[in-house]
Amino acid sequence: MSNIALKVNGRSHTVDVEPSTPLLYVLRNDLGLQGPRFGCGLGQCGACAVIINGIATRSCITPVSSVRAEVTTLEGLATGGTLHPLQQAWIDEQVPACGFCQNGQIMTAKALLDKNPHPTDAQIREGMARTLCRCMTYYRVQAAIRRVAKGVA
């Protein structure tokens, strides 16, 4: 075990864990941030997504010791009690079914829109293609992303 410093959602933390520990378990079990969730542990589904350096990162395959920049989790999207426009669009569009994957959907969509605020439908499909949902809410996820993209216009 060793002490590792992390900045998450604007707060600094030091955790005493094995350096190879996936970031996901540190966020969930040490920092109590349970927006990111375990889905596959293989970086295939996106349930564990967090944003690091503007990139939607699979925290289940990211060793905690490799994290060099601030981590943003789902809990860190709202500012001053106001939901992020994507979160609001998710409610307006009533996107989630069970909702378990929606952390990955929202975080991946945020990284996508931060980079490209006005994606085409094809770019949305491509940008979201590796973020899975087994309730198959894709149609509404894409509609919610378009809502925000239009709102920003």
Binding site: N29, C40, G41, A97, F100, R130, M136
Partner: protein
Amino acid sequence: MIPSRRDFLQTSGWLLVGVGAAAVTGPLTANAQTAGLPRQSAPGATAGPYPDPDFKQLDSWIVIRPDNTATFSVGKTDCGQGTGTAFRQMMADELDIAYDKTTCVMGSTDVTVDQGGSGGSDAIQVDGWPMRRVAAEARRVLLEMASVTFGVPVDQLSVREAVITVTADPSKHVTYGELIGGKRFSVTLTGANIDATTGAAKVKPVQDLKIVGQSPQRYDIPAKVDGSLKWAVDAKLPGMVHARNVKPPVAGATLVSIDESSVRRLPGFIKVVSKGNYVAVVCEREEQAIAAAKQLKVSWQKPTTPPFPASEDLFTYMRSATPTSSQRPNIVGDPDAALAAAVTVVEADYDVPFQGHTAFAPAHAMADPSNGQMTIYSNDMKSYGMRNGVATFLNMPRDRVRVVWMEGPQGYGRTAADDAGFEAAYIAKEIGRPVRVQWMRNEETAWDTKGPAFAVKMRGGLDAQGNLVALEYDARAADYNHVGYNEPETVLIAQLMGVRKATPAAGSAATPSHMYSIPNQRITAHVVGLPMIWETPVRTGNLRDPNGPQSTFAAESFIDEVAAAAKADPAAFRMKLLTASTADDSGFKRARSIAVIKAAVDAYGWDARPSPKPRGAGAGEILTGRGLAYSFRGQTVVAEIAEVEVNRRTGRVWVKRLVCAHDCGLVINPEALRRTIEGGMLHSISRALHEEVQFDTEKVTSVDWTSHPSLTHADTPEKIDVVLVNGDPNPKRPDLPHYGAGETTCKPMIAAVANAIYDATGVRLRRVPFRAARVLAALKEAGV
């Protein structure tokens, strides 16, 4: 003992403000309540035992608080369809209270009556009725109390939004909260069983329901998008440790020895727990348990005979196996004579492989053995069954076991056979500490319960006028020893420990569900078993409309094949079969079948013509076509149209557009229903295009999202139209029933996609899934 009001509130599924501090160290800390959600149970507030809530007491169903709000306790679980919201709508309507003054508690065994949890899409259809009746009864009792308060008869009182007013003197009014808040109803209900629970009050006519039919937003969604919801995966207690299973490397392997020294020095190691062929490693931290389970050295003895044929040989095996059981044939008319006399006979075989639940997150649960009780924090869709099963499995009295239901990844039947809850409880009892168990991805995809594979043979006969005069359906389902609901004899941990049911479940093979009038029919169905039926990863359980997609793929593909042989438009051909009879059942399924097909065809803008679509000489790389299929499940009827693009060069199929006409009777929440329909259709498209459990003769080789692909954003249709139909011949009747929704949508979609591919290409695909390589091979073979 009659509990005090304070105890009563604490055990009724929600906590008074201030009492909530009792849960600060509980697993639901900062739970959904902060986001406006009800507390699902009261961890730490009661140390047990946990007797069953009495369904004959109105207080078990409804609590009204002094602030004039109500909490409804519902013994169902919500797998993401918004059933909790729908129950609130129905009950608020009957009680006459504003929707936003209500909350709903679901699924925890100590605070809600055992309504079975979820399954069969029956929450609204079956449980909606007792919930409406108990809410109506509460309203009746409150009116009687107000009658005493004001000294006027009930018929001179009016109610609006939980305020009762003397009609003749509106200055005299009282709220529900003032009448009953802080007190028990102490009203006894009647009914032979929970589903039949009723008071003296009658439910309202449909025309008087004001909240039903509206679309309030689902109450559970805000906490799911801001990260505040505490899910079953988040359950945490002080002193909690983590366990991971070590599964046999090949099916049917016998444990020889465990070398505990291989993990003893690992950080956080606590114990190896093992009995029979069940092995788990317990560590302080989650990542430690994962590492230790990977590193533990276990010697296994392989079985002497293969447990199953390889998946590529499955259908040959199924067609030659001796059935373990056969349904009595359903024979109408004289199918042999009719087929012999037919001008055209069409024959076809259809194959559907095993398909997994492959839940988005693997099985998980946390169990707490404190105080001589066993509390399991679980997303089990049938939490009540888990409580009973675990009590038997651990040989504990039922009232010392409770399941606190929390949300989890989908349902679809997987959590009705909830292995992780049993495992967590077993390990917690062994080590005397709260234990969290979660399966790994490869474990879940390989070892979860599977929807049975089907091999179906069909024959049909047409007369000279192109009428379908004979139909034969003969199905074989690989479903022997179908896993039960949380049975202590069939959950995987029990199987691995050597428990065997005296008589394995017979399993079942579905037959078509349509209302076609065909004068001569032979409908037969058989179950076959794989060589190994215990401790196998290829074990069948209920997967979303358990056998419907398989049987309907065959039946509704075949109707299209026969229509093509008759050179008839597939929609008109179906309508002719439906209108050939005037007989109908009490649910008007024939009339409603006609109504949904008409509605789907209209919404799509159906171009009536035979399939396949004529292809011009200049056809390019992309071929397009449309396919229709229809089915009912229970009393719910759907017709679905898929429009596809088939890429001739790659074999890729894209379902570009979908239409669903859906009749489930009275609709409670149209917007939530639309989303349920959309998701159900896309799940079936995933099964149509991608999903198959593959295995060699030792083990399942589909173990992750690469080896077991699923539909993705890239596959999503461009446009989905959902038409909510009320095809009841008397659509305005005051007792219009509310039928189930969800699984019916899954039923015809695979056939609709196959029919659309045929329309586009003239190539008939009879083997699911229609992965690009299989489609390309079929196109090449046909010279398309």
